[in-house]
C-alpha cells in the first residue's frame, strides 16, 4: 500500500476545510494517510484527524517560530521517513508557498491546483486547469514523489470514525526567513477561495459605498465571502484579496453570485468551475449570462436587497 503525506493547516483549534479535503483525496486514493501538523497548539487538531482518514499524525510542535523553509525541510524529511510516494497540500497561500519547497527538497516536480487524481496504477496522473481554465489537462508524472496542491472545494471530505496514532516530531533549525507578525483579518471574514458561497460585485455597483449591499447579501447567507471584479479592484473600491479572475483568485464555490459583473474572459477564468452560477445584471446581453445557470435581468439596487431579505427569511425558518 502506498503512503501519502498530507500537510494539514489549522487555526483556532480547527483544521482548515481545504486540508480535510486533501486528507479525503488521499484516503479516496486508497493510500495509508499520514497527516502533518505544525505549531504548539497542533495537538488538539491532531487528535481529530483520524476521523478524516489519517492513520498517523506527525506533530511538529516547534519552538514558536514560523518559517516556510523550515516547514518544507521537516515535511520533506517526513515524506522520506514514511517512504511516501505522494505529498499533498491544499492550494491555499500556505500550501502554495510550502509545496514547491517540499518538491524541490525531494527533487520532484510540482503539480499545482489539481482538480483530479488517478493513482490506480501505472504512472500517476493528475487533472488540472490549463491556460487559465480554458483547457483541462491530464498530466502524467514521473517524479520520485508526486507533489501536488489540491484546489479547495473540489475533493470530498471523508469523515468516519477512525483514530490516528500521534507522533511528536522535532523541528529543524537554520531559518532563512521568519514570520514576525500577522495582522489578522477583521471580523473573521471568510476567504473568497474557500467559502462555499461567493457574492461578487462589479462596476455595475456604481460606487464603492454600494458594496454594502453585496456585504449584506453575503452576511445573510452566513457562510459567504465577498468577491470583486478586476475593474472595481483596479479602481480601488475593493482590496485585491477579494479579486476573482485570472489576475486574482480562482474559486470553485457551491454557489457564485455575480452582481453587476459583465463577465469578461479575465473574470470567467476565475469562477467558471463554480457549481451553480447566478448572474444579476441590467444588460440582458452581458456575457456573464452565457455561463450563468440562473439569471436575473434588472437593477441590482432593487434585486439585491430583495434577495437578501428572501435569504434571511429562509435562514430564519431553520
Amino acid at each position: 500500500m502506498t503512503t501519502i503525506v498530507v500537510f494539514v493547516e489549522h487555526s483556532k483549534g480547527q483544521a482548515r476545510r481545504a486540508s480535510l479535503e486533501a486528507l479525503g483525496a488521499a484516503k479516496a486514493a486508497g493510500a495509508r494517510v499520514v497527516a502533518a501538523v505544525e505549531g504548539s497548539d497542533a495537538q488538539a487538531v491532531a487528535s481529530t484527524l483520524g476521523r478524516f482518514g489519517a492513520e498517523r499524525v506527525a506533530v511538529f510542535a516547534g519552538d514558536g517560530r514560523v518559517s516556510a523553509d523550515r516547514s518544507a525541510r521537516d515535511l520533506a524529511a517526513l515524506v522520506r521517513e514514511e517512504g511516501a510516494t505522494a505529498c499533498f497540500a491544499a492550494a491555499t497561500s500556505s500550501g502554495k508557498s510550502l509545496m514547491p519547497r517540499i518538491a524541490a527538497t525531494l527533487d520532484s516536480t510540482l503539480h499545482s491546483d489539481c482538480t483530479g487524481l488517478d493513482l490506480t496504477g501505472g504512472a500517476p496522473k493528475v487533472v488540472r486547469p490549463w491556460l487559465a481554465g480554458k483547457l483541462i489537462a491530464t498530466l502524467e508524472s514521473s517524479a520520485p514523489v508526486l507533489c501536488a496542491t489540491l484546489r479547495p472545494n473540489t475533493f470530498a471530505v471523508q469523515e468516519g470514525s477512525g483514530s490516528a496514532e500521534i507522533v511528536a516530531k522535532p523541528s529543524s533549525s537554520d531559518l532563512k526567513a521568519l514570520l514576525v507578525s500577522i495582522e489578522a483579518k477583521t471580523g473573521g471574514k471568510l476567504d473568497v477561495k474557500e467559502a462555499p458561497i461567493v457574492v461578487s460585485g462589479g462596476r455595475g455597483m456604481k460606487a464603492p459605498e454600494h458594496f454594502a449591499l453585496i456585504e449584506e447579501l453575503a452576511a445573510a447567507f452566513g457562510n459567504a465571502a465577498v468577491g470583486a471584479s478586476r475593474a472595481v479592484v483596479d479602481a480601488g473600491w475593493r482590496p485585491h484579496a477579494e479579486q476573482v479572475g485570472q489576475t486574482g483568485k480562482t474559486v470553485s464555490p457551491q454557489l457564485y453570485i455575480a452582481v453587476g459583473i459583465s463577465g469578461a474572459i479575465q473574470h470567467l477564468a476565475g469562477m467558471r468551475t463554480a457549481k451553480t452560477i447566478v448572474a444579476i445584471n441590467k444588460d440582458a446581453d452581458a456575457p456573464i449570462f452565457k455561463v450563468a445557470d440562473y439569471g436575473l435581468v434588472g437593477d441590482a439596487f432593487e434585486i439585491v436587497p430583495a434577495l437578501t431579505a428572501a435569504v434571511k427569511a429562509i435562514r430564519a425558518q431553520r
Binding site: P100, A143, Q246, T247, Q254
Partner: protein, 250 residues
Amino acid sequence: MNIVACVKRVPVTEAQPKIAADGKSVDATGFEYMLSFYDDLAVEEAIRAKEKLGGEVTVLTLGASEASKELRDALAKGADKATVLKDPNWAARDARSTAKVLAKKLQELGAEVVFMGRVATDRDNAAVGPYVATVLGWACVTDVVKLELAAGKGKAWRETEDGVETIEFALPAVITCDKGLNEPRYSGLKGIMAAKKKPIDEVAFDDVANQQSVAKLEFPPRRKDGRIVGQGAAGVPALIDALRNEAKVL
C-alpha cells in the same frame, strides 16, 4: 546590489486555444503574447530596488527568442541588461526543470535578490519562485504586497487567507510579487531610445529533463444551458425556488 527579475512571456488573456491533432498539445497558431501580469510587478520592483540601493538589474527569461520584445520594454523602463535562455520547448517545460535551469543561471549571474511574479498566468503553477530559492538554499517570500530591502536583509508583507503576514529574511532571496506591491511604470521615449543600446543576450543552457508530460488536453465540460428566471426584484422568488429545489444550494 545585483538584482534580477525573472519573467515569462505568456499568451494574452483573450487567447482562445485549440487542441492540436495529437490531443495533448496546444495549437498556438495566431496566439498573441504579453508579459505575464505579475512579472510586470517584478520588473518594476527590481528597478525600484536599484533606484534605492544602487546596482544593476538583469531581466532573465527562459523561453522563445521572440520574448526579446517584452525584454526590450523592461530595458526601456530602466533595467540594464537582459538574457534569454533560448528554449524551443518552453511550452512543455515543468516547474522543476524551469526552476533548476533558472537557479543555475541566477547563481552564474551572482544574483543577490530575485524578483518574480506571484504566478505565471498561462500555467498558474506559482511554483518556480520558491522552488528556485530552495534549490539555491535561499530565503523566499511569496505573494508579497509590500517590501523593505536593505543591505543583506529585508522585510516583506504577504497576503494570506487569514490576514497579512510580516516576514523578515536574509539575502540572497527570491521575492514573488503580488498585485498591490507597486504600480508598474510605462516606458518613455527616452527609455525606449536608451534600451536600443542595451544588451539582450541569447544563450543556450544545459537541459534538465521534465518529470511531467501532458497525456491529454480537453475543453472543460460545457455548462448546461442556463436561463433567465425573471426581471427585476419580481424575479427573486423564482430565483430562490431554483436555488432551493433545482440546484439545492440553499
